[in-house]
């Protein structure tokens, strides 16, 4: 229901409109998506032996040209990746949707690489439990979803298709589910949860990413917890590692 419809129904139902609060125009709350960070890869970062990018909750990074003002990598929520409480209208019953606002979003910028002579890269994105200062935030069961594309436009809705569900239509219209070259990814789908693993502390997605050219060579990563316990939702710390290499990494 839009606010306009809500207002209409309120008026129709005979509720007195609050003085001065009648509305003109449509209102879209929370417009535009902020990535927790953008990770920019250069060809030299993709060579054998180059270090992977790694960051964790609570770590501070300077914004370039912002005169030493640091921004902190945030925490996510224990149920941000899969929570029955978000179920949007028209959802697929065999899955669980993530919280768009409680998950943390990252942008991996590979747009320079094609111009530097590369045609494809192997990408590994991993999320693991991170031990921060508060022990109650150190029990994350990590999960992640990787999309192709860069989405800063449009309203950020409450849910996202964490398991790449096709219904309802994804609001992130610049994001694509097909990320990796088929048959060159394990698993083929670009999402993973640590819930079903014995240690429940590590989730990872890996595949071969074909470089298409500037504006298409971005990956968007959603990071959240998959604790499957709606009664104990809380903040959790994590570490995110992104490795981009020209050669296929050893399994």
């Amino acid at each position: 229901m839009t606010f306009r419809k809500l207002l209409t129904s309120m008026t129709a139902a005979g509720f007195a409109a609050t003085a001065g609060n009648a509305l003109a125009g449509d209102i879209y709350p929370s417009y535009g998506i902020q990535y927790a960070a953008k990770l920019i890869f250069d060809k030299k970062d993709t060579k054998t032996g180059a270090a992977a990018a790694s960051l964790h909750s609570g770590q501070a990074f300077d914004t370039p040209n912002d005169d030493g003002n640091a921004t902190m990598i945030p925490q996510t929520k224990s149920m941000a990746w899969c929570d029955p409480a978000v179920t949007p209208a028209g959802y697929e019953h065999n899955g669980c949707y993530g919280w768009g606002m409680n998950a943390n979003w990252y942008l991996i910028d590979l747009s320079k690489l094609k111009g530097q002579g590369l045609n494809a890269v192997w990408v590994t994105v991993s999320v693991e439990r991170y031990a921060g200062s508060d022990p109650t935030n150190n029990d994350m069961i990590p999960a992640l979803t990787v999309y192709r594309g860069n989405q800063t436009l449009g309203p950020q809705m409450h849910w996202f298709p964490s398991e790449l569900q096709g219904m309802p239509e994804f609001w992130g219209w610049l994001l694509q589910r097909e990320v990796f070259v088929p048959g060159k990814a394990d698993p083929m789908f670009s999402y993973d949860s640590a819930y079903a693993t014995p240690a429940q502390n590590f989730a990872s997605v890996m595949g071969k990413f074909k470089l298409k050219g500037g504006t298409q060579d971005y990956l968007t990563v959603a990071v959240g917890g998959d604790a499957k316990d709606p009664n104990t939702k809380h903040n959790v710390n994590y570490q995110l590692t992104v490795d981009v290499k020209q050669k296929q990494p050893a399994q």
Binding site: L23, G25, P29, Y31, G32, A52, H158
Partner: protein, 289 residues
């Protein structure tokens, strides 16, 4: 980050973690607290102004009935000496905290195609009394730009008074000013400190250019940084067609204000909306014709 790498190269640091080669930019992309989309019918005489306030929940269209809340801002978000903008800051001025201010997008991009060419826009930021009295003491201030900026890093500061140096990171934003519109205002020096207003004419240029970006924050000028706190606000946006296209049109008074609509306000040296001139805090200050 580069400094850390430089330090590594100089052999000053021998970290246990691997050297960071990949450039990491935190906080990329700006989230507006809300976008307001105006249609021609919303700009007709008699149409009500749009109004939102902290704590109000609004459904995202198409989001299956999940509401989002209009947030609070900070008492010193609009002007805080602690924001420390990069070298080159204009002395004697004060920059806003980009992350504590609330950003709103006014979407007028559909109006030119609907046959409109000129609008009068009034944007008011007001103190709002909510459930917690400790958060109900906002001294409102606002700045308005032309443009829509969702790209790029959100830096800590912004030029709340349009300071030209250092260069503004919002490269898609330009100050929205005119002879009668300074483009920003603080309630700090004004009466009971409860209303700040920016108003002026807007000539529509076409789809991509017909956006206004509004930053709302507090200007409490606390002597002690520990007094900074969350505050409620109300934001009102009124967009009206500038003239009906029939005869008549606007009559401009000797001060450059529009007779019957705006009046010269000497304390702030700009034309003020008549409705504002009639508020208790401004009563008797305006020169109306």
């Amino acid at each position: 980050m580069k400094r850390i790498i430089t330090a590594l190269a100089l052999g000053l640091v021998c970290a246990a973690t691997p050297a960071e080669a990949v450039e990491i930019v935190p906080g990329d992309g700006i989230t507006y607290a809300a976008k307001f989309v105006f249609q021609k019918k919303d700009t007709k005489a008699g149409a009500s102004a749009l109004s939102v306030y902290s704590g109000q929940t609004i459904d995202t269209p198409g989001d299956g009935g999940s509401p989002a809340s209009i947030p609070t801002t900070k008492s010193m978000a609009w002007c805080d000496p602690a924001t420390n903008p990069p070298a080159g800051a204009v002395p004697g001025t004060c920059y806003g905290w980009a992350m504590h201010s609330k950003w709103f997008l006014i979407d007028l991009s559909g109006l030119k195609a609907q046959g409109l060419s000129k609008l009068n826009v009034t944007i008011n930021a007001k103190r709002y009394i909510g459930s917690d009295p400790a958060k109900s003491d906002l001294i409102p201030a606002l700045t308005v730009w032309r443009g829509n900026q969702t790209q790029g890093p959100l830096m800590h500061w912004y030029p709340s008074q349009f300071q030209a140096t250092p260069p503004f990171w919002g490269w898609l934003l330009t100050p929205w000013t005119s002879k009668t519109n300074p483009g920003y205002m603080s309630a700090y020096g004004v009466g009971p400190q409860t209303v700040a207003s920016v108003s002026g004419p807007l000539t529509l240029k076409g789809r991509k250019e017909d956006w206004l970006t509004v930053a709302v924050g507090g200007d409490a000028k606390h002597g002690d940084a520990s007094q900074k706190h969350d505050v409620y606000f109300q934001l009102e946006v009124d967009v009206k067609q500038a003239s009906s296209g029939g005869g008549g049109g606007q009559v401009i008074d000797p001060n450059g204000c529009v007779v019957g609509k705006t009046c010269w306000h000497p304390p702030m040296s700009h034309c003020m909306n008549v409705d504002l001139c009639n508020l208790p805090q401004y009563l008797g200050q305006c020169q109306c014709y």
